[in-house]
């Protein structure tokens, strides 16, 4: 991507995100969040993040691999257990990246 398109991408992402941040502060007293949207919003983070994680672990280097040779999957499961127990980004990274570097030396 060119220098200009990268910045345009950031600015486009930022403008949309600002609109979301300002949305109901701007609309206060004029418009309430529809209940259906409010129910949907609750599930956005879990669903989107899972949709990013699962393929990244099962398609290392772009090819489907569900086996013990898939280091991404093994280290991802290890990191996932830490993520589940601690809900902490830093600890998940330390354990997950650690496994990602150490496992290839064993397998």
């Amino acid at each position: 991507m060119s220098e200009l398109s990268i910045w345009l991408l950031f600015v486009g992402a930022a403008i949309g995100t600002f609109a979301l941040r300002f949305s109901f502060i701007y609309l206060f007293g004029k418009f309430e969040i529809p209940p259906l949207l409010q129910r949907a919003l609750r599930f956005v983070p879990a669903s989107v993040l899972a949709a990013l994680v699962f393929p990244a672990l099962l398609y290392p280097n772009g090819i489907f691999d569900f086996s013990l040779h898939n280091i991404h999957l093994l280290a991802g499961i290890g990191g996932g257990i830490v993520a589940w127990k601690t809900k902490n980004v830093l600890w998940t990274l330390i354990v997950g990246m650690g496994l990602f570097w150490v496992l290839p030396l064993i397998f």
Binding site: L27, A46, T92
Partner: protein, 228 residues
């Protein structure tokens, strides 16, 4: 009655305990940005322009996969939809504030600033809640930007062979488990993730957005059944 300045300082102090979680996340965003081939100015600039770490990491992952720009934008906006909830919750506290003062602080609205402010407001609402929020959001944003710049400098010396892209799914997992609060949440994640694997072949990474929508629908369906 406390002055506005005192509440601003109280907000900044209230945010202190959460700052240690802001620093590594900003570092990770910058280091990851360098990892997918951005230069240090772009890496730090991204954090300054967007102020939304999870969506930045998603954008970077899609960038490295060569996704269509529209899919990248929509993915960022979908991840940041949660800000509308924060916006609605904060709105009553900011309604008297002039735009010239509140808009910069709306721009830097973060999960952490929202969390810190609402915990305080639900215990004891300060005399000037808007200023308390400004103090919290301000110190968090400052920490975020400084850490992003440090990360961009550090990232520039980390060799690509370390495979730091793997930090993306790992950080997403921590955020995902923090977002799952109940059984319908688990179903939303399982369906969203499972469908993303099945639909991965769709062009322009459209499978991601479709899968996430199905996951959200599944969560809503499960919640409806629990209540019924």
């Amino acid at each position: 009655m406390k002055t506005e300045y005192q509440d601003f300082i109280a907000g900044a102090r209230g945010a202190l305990p959460i700052l240690p979680s802001v620093v590594p996340f900003a570092l990770i965003c910058s280091v990851s940005a360098i990892g997918v081939g951005l230069n240090p100015v772009q890496a730090a600039g991204m954090s300054f322009v967007m102020f939304a770490g999870a969506s930045q990491l998603a954008l970077l992952q899609l960038l490295s996969e060569g996704a269509h720009w529209l899919v990248m934008l929509v993915t960022v906006w979908v991840i940041n939809l949660r800000f509308t909830m924060y916006s609605a919750t904060l709105a009553p506290y900011l309604k008297e504030e002039p735009n010239w003062r509140r808009l910069p602080f709306v721009y830097i609205l973060s999960d952490q600033a929202f969390g810190v402010s609402m915990v305080q407001f639900s215990n004891a609402t300060p005399a000037n809640p808007a200023w308390y929020y400004y103090g919290a959001a301000g110190i968090i944003a400052m920490t975020w930007v400084i850490s992003a710049i440090v990360g961009a400098l550090v990232g520039a010396v980390i060799p690509p062979s370390w495979g730091f892209e793997f930090a993306f799914p790992l950080s997403f997992m921590a955020l995902m488990f923090a977002a799952i609060k109940d059984k319908p949440g688990i179903l939303a994640a399982v369906i969203g993730g499972g469908m993303a694997v099945l639909l991965r072949g769709l062009p322009y990474n459209l499978g991601l957005i479709l899968a996430a929508s199905l996951g959200i629908a599944a969560g809503m369906w499960a919640e409806g059944r629990v209540q019924a």
